[in-house]
Symmetry: C2
Subunit: 136 residues, 2 copies
């Protein structure tokens, strides 16, 4: 849970600030993907002072740390969600197109090849879209 993420931050010499705690807490509570602005709306309840640029910066930091992932949805906004996996194992995510809930997709089916069609393969990204139990 949350403490693991904070430990990960501390390990890499990033500061544990109240805002950062609050962002991670929010993701824990909401259990779905969120936009920077939605997060900001929530934070403003607790911190009457709070800037959107700080949200953006922290979200990108969390992605670099493997704590959050970016989610693709309709529309022109960004979405982020908790990765939920602390082992660092490669895996993918399934997203509810209705409510934005995100869960780990247990395994990766992509073959472990290093090249195809003359390309040297570096990475792959994948997202599964569906409808979660409670939205069905």
């Amino acid at each position: 849970m949350n403490a693991d993420y904070l430990k990960k931050l501390k390990q890499d010499h990033f500061k544990i600030t109240p805002k950062r705690r609050a962002i991670l807490d929010l993701f824990d509570r909401e259990d779905k993907c969120l936009t920077p602005e939605t997060i900001w709306e929530h934070l403003k309840k607790t911190f009457k002072q709070s800037g959107l640029p700080g949200i953006y910066r922290n979200l990108e930091l969390f992605v670099k740390q493997g704590i959050l992932i970016r989610i693709d949805r309709e529309g022109r906004k960004r979405y982020y969600a908790l990765c939920h996996d602390h082992s660092g194992h490669h895996h993918h995510h399934i997203v509810c197109v209705e409510c934005g809930r995100v869960d780990d997709f247990p395994v990766c089916h992509f073959p472990d090849i290093k090249s195809t069609k003359g390309y040297k393969i570096l990475s792959h990204s994948m997202q599964i879209n569906g409808i979660c139990k409670s939205c069905q």
Copy 2:
């Protein structure tokens, strides 16, 4: 090739305009993913009159028609590329992170399951990133 795309448009009662031809020709010639603005720069050479909103509209039309796909790259711009497959077979794409070249990735390894973790699966998207032969 190009004629197939035009046929597809005509079938669905979309007009074959010089701009549309020019956009598809450009993709054929460039053989990589392009941003709306890049396309616009090229079109302006031939059509001194030419508006960016028209480019945006056409690109989204082509995506709906399965002629183009959207490509994720670094930065905040959109990229589009030819799908290159007229059979309509489900498949994915590999993108050169250096030059933006895009090729069909022959097969899809994602299992044909209809549900997981309580989700009803609707779709999945995937992109393979690598370095193409000429960029290595």
